[in-house]
Structure formats: structure tokens, C-alpha cells
């Protein structure tokens, strides 16, 4: 479980995140939805302890990220915004490298990467160097790399970015599988259809603040709209006007 309370982060005079709170529960997929520049990536970066918040609190499975960042990192599997691979290593070697950095011994690392390669249907490309991989193949490898230490919580920053239809469907299957195993999945996106089909809970962020938080049904109800896209537009629009006022 991931709990975020009153997170604030400024870059110079720009307040990127201005008080974000939400909870992502185990066995659910939580979507962080918002337009570009809303503060999603910064929020996630603070969550996976790459950045330090100016104020606010983050707890992962009850562990305070400020107090014990290493323990939090071990409990998180992260697909960050930057998802570069080592192009002179094969997909399998890329995955194994991260397994060993997560503290698995050589034998565990080998077993676990074999397992993920089978689960993500990567057998055909596992022993090719990642140079020349398609966007979908790269994301798959990066996801395997993020899951290699069998984390309870999975954080994905715009996982569907640049993926074609087939790859997107495959990604959805993977995320549903993780949910079925009782894990806590938190993903950011600016694509409404993604959250609509996938998420159990939606947190809408605009201008560094949470403007709505609920199940897709609750959001539709709240905005009086019948589909999520309209609901999103209405909620974002209302907040934008508030921002102007």
C-alpha cells in the first residue's frame, strides 16, 4: 500500500506539486490522471525517493520514505519516465543486472529473470542485444527489470507512452495479472481510455493538486457525466477556472 500525504515540491519559484494526498491500495490499480505538466512525474519521483519533498509524507507498506528510503526502494518496482536500457547487453542481462542490484544472488537472479521472461512472453528476444528493440520490446524489458525483485508495490510513469495497440493490450494484461496477485499498482497517465478500462481508482491531478479522487463510477456521478472522458474534462475545466479566479 502506498500512502501520500500533503506532498509539496517547488523548483525555484515554480510549485510543481502543491499538496498532493492519495492512497493506492493493495489488489487495486490506481490511476494518476492529469494533463502534461500537472505534477504527476514529480509526485512519482518523490514516491520512489529520487527526489526529496519540501514537505509532506510518503509511506510504502507503512514505511516512511524519508526515514528509510532503502527499505522503500526494495518494496517498489518502478518503471520511471526515463526507461533507457543498456544496448550492448541482452534483455536478459539487463534484467539480471537489476536483479543483482536489488540484492538477489546470482542463482536467484537467473531464476527470477527466466521466470519473468516466460511470464512476459519475451523468450524470442531475451538473448538479443537491446539495441534495435522496438518501443514495445523496450518497455517490456523495462517492466521485467522493475519486477525482478518481486515487489509488493508497482509504480509506472506513463507505461503506455509510445506503445502500439497490440503492446498496449499486452501491457494491460500484465497489470491486471499483478492486481490479481494482490499487488498495489500505481500508474500515471494522461490518456483517459487507459484509466477507464484499467483503473479501480482514479486520482485526478491538475496544477500540482488533487482535484478529484474516486472510482470511475463516483467520478461520473460527481461530474454528472456519463463517460470518464467528459467527467475528466469537466473536473479539469472547473479546476482550471478555479486556478484563474
Amino acid at each position: 500500500m502506498i500512502e501520500v500525504r500533503d506532498l509539496v515540491k517547488s523548483f525555484g519559484s515554480v510549485k510543481a506539486v502543491a499538496g498532493v494526498s492519495f492512497t493506492a491500495r493493495d489488489g487495486q490499480i490506481t490511476g494518476l490522471l492529469g494533463p502534461n505538466g500537472a505534477g504527476k512525474t514529480t509526485t512519482l519521483r518523490m514516491l520512489y525517493t529520487l527526489m526529496r519533498p519540501d514537505s509532506g509524507q510518503i509511506r510504502v507498506d507503512g514505511i516512511d520514505a524519508a526515514a528509510d528510503p532503502m527499505a522503500v526502494r526494495r518494496r517498489l518496482g518502478v518503471l520511471p519516465d526515463a526507461r533507457g536500457l543498456y544496448k550492448r547487453l541482452t534483455a536478459r542481462e539487463n534484467i539480471r543486472y537489476f536483479a543483482q542490484l536489488q540484492g538477489l544472488d546470482a542463482q536467484q537472479a537467473r531464476a527470477r529473470s527466466d521466470e519473468l521472461i516466460a511470464a512476459l512472453d519475451m523468450a524470442a528476444l531475451a538473448d538479443r542485444r537491446t539495441e534495435g528493440f522496438s518501443q514495445g520490446e523496450r518497455v517490456k524489458t523495462a517492466i521485467a527489470r522493475a519486477l525482478v525483485h518481486d515487489p509488493r508495490n508497482i509504480v509506472l510513469d506513463e507505461p503506455a507512452n509510445g506503445l502500439d495497440v497490440m503492446s498496449t493490450r499486452g501491457l494491460r494484461e500484465v497489470l491486471r495479472g499483478l492486481r490479481a496477485e494482490g499487488r498495489c499498482v500505481l500508474m500515471s497517465t494522461h490518456i483517459m481510455q487507459e484509466v477507464a478500462v484499467l483503473c479501480d481508482r482514479i486520482v485526478i491531478i491538475a496544477h500540482g493538486r488533487v482535484v478529484a479522487d474516486g472510482t470511475p463510477d463516483e467520478l461520473r456521478e460527481q461530474s454528472g457525466q456519463t463517460n470518464v472522458e467528459e467527467a475528466f474534462m469537466k473536473i479539469i475545466g472547473a479546476s482550471a477556472l478555479q486556478g484563474l479566479a
Binding site: 519521483r45 520512489y48 529520487l50 507498506d61 527499505a71 526507461r83 542481462e93 543483482q100 509488493r152
Partner: protein, 401 residues
Amino acid sequence: MSAGHDRGRATAPALVVFIKECRESLRDRRVLLNALVLGPLFTPLLFLVLIHLIVGRELEKAEQPLPVAVIGAQYAPNLVEDLRRQGMAQRPPVADPEAAVRDQSVDFVLRISPEFAQDWNAGRPAQVELIFDSSRQDLRSAIDRLEAMLGTTARRVGSLRLLARGIAPSLLSPVVVAVRDQATPEARGAVLLGMLPYFLMLTALLGGMWLAIDSTAGERERQSLEPLLINPVPRAQILLGKLMATALFSMSSLVLGMLAFTAVGHLLPADEPGLALSIGPRFVLLALPIFAPLVVLIAAAQIWVASFARSFREAQTYLGLAQLVPLVPSILLMAVPMRPQLWMSAIPVFGQQVTILHLLRGEAPQPLGIAIGVVVTLLTAAGVFVLTLRLYKSERVAIAG
């Protein structure tokens, strides 16, 4: 299914990073070519070519007839004949000798005045003028040779004149100097080999440069730094792994370079005095402990500098400039030769150059100086490492783009 692993048998993160960086670099043809072939071979070959050119030209000049335009040869046929026997090639007179020398159409002009014969026959000092341009580096040995030729002729005639008057010519030489040059053959060679320490350092610099850039600025550019830093590993461990990999490549390059120099040593013109080169197994063994800490410092500095860059190219520019730094003490040592002193060992880069020159001269190593160099250089490397670590702990470096 839990996040807890048995971490007891896991490999230390620094070692994991080290192995991965080495493996990745060994797969890159550019790295292999630069660090393990071109780097170690380039400087020894450059050196070999330079030495052969210099020595070859000197030899050639010492044997070849020396062309001199002679004006007024008819006033001193004996003198001209004597010079010709010593290796002068007489050339026809030129109209304006000063201008001809200045525009380099002739190298030397010997002008004999019409009064020469008169003075010569009267036993008075007879004057000849030698016109040349002493600023021409390539004529240096020829000038010495020509002056020696004239001196020889003058002495011989002088001795004959004294004998004719019943005076022993030895009266003119109250002191005879017997030269006993204490320079070892290596020491004379070291004058020519003054650039060698820099060449060796350059080899070490080239050997580690690619990896230093690729594992820092390259990692940022490829967007793989952020995922790497999210792992539950202290950043000091990650940097240490990168440092070890860079130092290993740098050291391999240096060892190969020294072996190449050893091979080149055998190809140098062997009988030429002053070219005996003390590079052999003994030199390599002694030089390794002197260079090893320096290689660590070089690797740390390269990683530090490259970490400021956002792209491979930017880092290459910075490090290209940084390569000139060790050139400064080399030029200083060549311009102002200094006796090796203990305090010099305490200055990284400079100290190693002085010590290596000392070794190249075939002199015994100074253990205390070497020990001071090792300690100071390693401490400096640690300082640079801490600076780099501070950089990596800031959010600025961690986030790409």
C-alpha cells in the same frame, strides 16, 4: 511473494556495477580499439618515428658533404682545399650573401677578402667571414661542424708555424682537458626521452576515457541513470563500481603501452650513444606501483568531469581539454630540468613524472618519494571521489534531460 530476500550471498553492488561496466565496454569495438589497441600503440609508434627521424637526420648530416658558397676562393686556395678535405662541398659564390642566407637559398657563405693572402703570408691573423642564420634549428649541428672544421685548419697551420720557428706547439696548450662524462647511457637518452612520462600518462588517459564518459554522461544521455539510481544501493557503491572499471581499463592500456614501449626500445638505433632506453621488465615492474595510484586518480577525475556533462559529446570536449593538464609539468621539466627532490613527490602528476624520468635515467628508485607519491595521490583521488559523490547525491544529476 514478499519483498524480503536472502541478501547474505548477494554480490556487493560495487562489484555488480564493475562487472557490468566491463562486460558492456568489452562488447564495444570502439572501446576495444581505443583503450586496448590504438591507445597503447599510438604513442610508442609516434615515439619510434620521431626518434628515427631525429637520429636519421643527425647521422645523415654528419656524413654528408656540407655545402658552403665560397666567395674569393682564389685568395686562399690552400684553406679551401683543406676545408674540402674535411667534408666541405664548395659551391659557387653568390652575389648578395646576406640576402641569400636570409631567404634560405644557401645555408652558409664563406667570404674570403682579397687581403687574406697578404695577411696569411705575413703571419698576421687573416680574416674569413662566415655568414649563416643561427636561428635555424635544422642547421645547429652543421654550424658546429663547420666551426670545428675551420678551427682544425687554423690549429694545424698555427702548429706548423710554431714548429718552423723552433717552438713546441704544446706550449700553446697549458691545460689539457680529458672529458669523463658521468652520464649513464640512459641519462643521455633521457634528454631525448623527456616526453615519455607524458606519453605514458596519455596512454592511461585514453584507456579510461571512453568508459568514464559512457558510464556517466552516456548513462544520462541514454536515460538509464534514473532507473539505475532507483535501486536500493548506496550511490557510493555505484560510483565505486564505475571507478574500478575505468581504472582497470586505464591500467590495462598503460601496461600494454609500456610493453609496446619495451618492444619499441629494441627497434631504436641500438649503437647510437644516448639512446639506450631503460624500458624493460624491471622498469615496468617499478613503474606500476608508481602509476597505479595515479591511474586511480585519473579515473576519478575523468568520472568527475564527465559527470557534469549531459551528453557523450559534451563530456568528450571537457575531457579532451583535461588531457592537456599533465602536459604542463612535462613541458616544465623539459624547459627547466630539475633535480628530483622529495617535495615534488607530493604533487600528483608532477611527482610521478619526475620519478619516472628518474627511473628512465637508470637511477635507483627512492622508496620514500614513491611512498609519499602513493599516499598523496590516493588521498587526492579519494577527495575527487567525494566531490563526485556529492554531485550524484544532488537531484540535478539524477534526473535526466
